[in-house]
Symmetry: C2
Subunit: 256 residues, 2 copies
């Protein structure tokens, strides 16, 4: 049973890409077959794994733009066992306008992923910072959503609206969307702000909050410049330990 | 001569809203009449100045959605002299899809701002993390663009693409777009990453780089929870000093 998990939040810079890459890397380390899909025209998930989007002939753009295209034609290997990527190119930015008026535009990714489902244990979708048609496609084909929330004031504000939207997508388009969890990211033990915001999240969203907390860690911010996930760039660092714990927590949901 | 400045970058979380609010606040302090326009469905610029979007009857959404609407009907005061806001509501998220197929959709904001031009010295536009129709509207009506770039790896990657897009908008739709500047944000003296990225920006974008550097500062992240800009929340803090310097640097362009 393949688990498709969208990593989504319209708030910019909350750790979506960092979570997609490093959760994916640790799941692969734990012998799960993992596919990452980069749904952001910034191509950060692709770049963070050492892929050069401008050198690619095909990308996730083709999945949305060409009805004949198939996902398995666009899959790139990474230098990690069990981890593959459907990369993005900057052309993906055009998709939002191309698809707007097309009927059933929200179901394209779901159709394209169906043939892949038995090949992977996990498919992780890195979303762009918006609630547009790309994030909608991700929510429609997911069995779970992880919402990274940094312990900052603005990050807290958008949460209720996002949870409402996820509920609407579940009711109208994807009854299989069963796991909706909040991941605390960039937690800085030194600041009152982090403590205060974390307590607010605990108070208001307790039953959705993952146990794992990702601390602020410079090694996590450095890793993408090496093209390696944190388990290869700085194994044993506090960022690596946290994402390892997250992978274990995500696997523990399989039994439920 | 009103200066309209878009604060734009599709990279999420690089400091667009923080720059719009605090640059605006210091310009107002220096006796400039300032209007901020919130072009992000997350409404962070509105919220950060103590406005409650859900209580509003009108917002920037109406400017885009209703041809009869006028900007001066939607202007909200703030508790600061010389600083007013055209707030956003979450409904703004629908505009991206409504406008896509409309001819001339990129020129709506320009038309709506024309009657206001003589009333303000500065109009600052807080953009959402995308290169969609809202950011396009901002670039089409601006005389300048400030691109906040945090000293992080991913932030550097998207810069060339964004500068190319700005050039295209200038040639095709807005010859008046004369000042395009990069603002270094969240600079952390303690990390090599910050030094390395800053040097890369200096090397590749030297003639566009503003002299002011905004340091990482918890007070800047705390201020929005009080609904106050940094000059009122923590005057004299390193974040306040930096944004004051930025306001002076922006004013110095007037003479050129
Ligand atoms: N726990 C962490 N500690 C320190 N830095 C982090 C951490 N997580 C992410 N970062 C850095 O913070 C920045 C934002 O993270 P990231 O790009 O993953 O967020 P995002 O939500 O994907 O952004 P966007 O909205 O642009 O897609 C990046 O430069 C990243 O390297
Ligand atoms: N110099 C700084 N030092 C510390 N924190 C900062 C600084 N500037 C901004 N922040 C915090 O970092 C987060 C991102 O900043 P901000 O929301 O202004 O970015 P943005 O580009 O507007 O994000 P979005 O892409 O979602 O619109 C916020 O929580 C903000 O309070
Ligand atoms: Mg990202
Ligand atoms: Mg913002």
């Amino acid at each position: 049973q393949t688990r498709v998990i969208a990593i989504a939040n319209p708030k910019g810079g909350c750790g979506k890409t960092t979570t997609t890459i490093n959760l994916g890397a640790f799941l692969a380390d734990m012998n799960k077959k993992v596919l990452l899909i980069d749904l952001d025209p910034q191509c950060n998930a692709s770049i963070g794994l050492g892929i050069k989007p401008h050198l690619l002939n095909f990308s996730v753009y083709d999945l949305f733009n060409n009805p004949e295209s198939q996902a398995n034609e666009i899959i790139c290997p990474t230098n990690l066992l069990n981890l593959e990527v459907v990369p993005a190119k900057t052309s993906l930015a055009d998709i939002e306008s191309k698809l707007r008026t097309q009927k059933g535009a929200g179901f394209i990714l779901k159709r394209k992923l169906e043939p892949l489902l038995l090949k992977y244990d996990y498919i992780l979708l890195d979303c762009n910072p918006s609630l547009g048609v790309l994030t909608l496609n991700a929510l429609v084909c997911s069995s779970g959503v992880i919402i990274p929330v940094q312990t900052q004031f603005y990050a807290l504000r958008g949460l209720t609206q996002l949870l409402n939207l996820i509920n609407i997508v579940r009711e109208k388009a994807n009854l299989g969307l069963s796991m909706v969890k909040i991941l605390t990211t960039m937690y800085d033990v030194r600041t009152n702000l982090s403590h205060y915001i974390f307590e607010e999240i605990q108070k208001n969203f307790k039953n959705r909050l993952l146990n794992t907390i990702i601390p602020v860690s410079t090694k996590l911010a450095e890793a993408p410049s090496s093209g390696l996930p944190i388990n290869k760039y700085a194994p044993g660092s506090k960022g690596a330990i946290a994402y390892e714990q997250l992978a274990k927590e995500v696997i523990s949901f399989e039994e439920k």
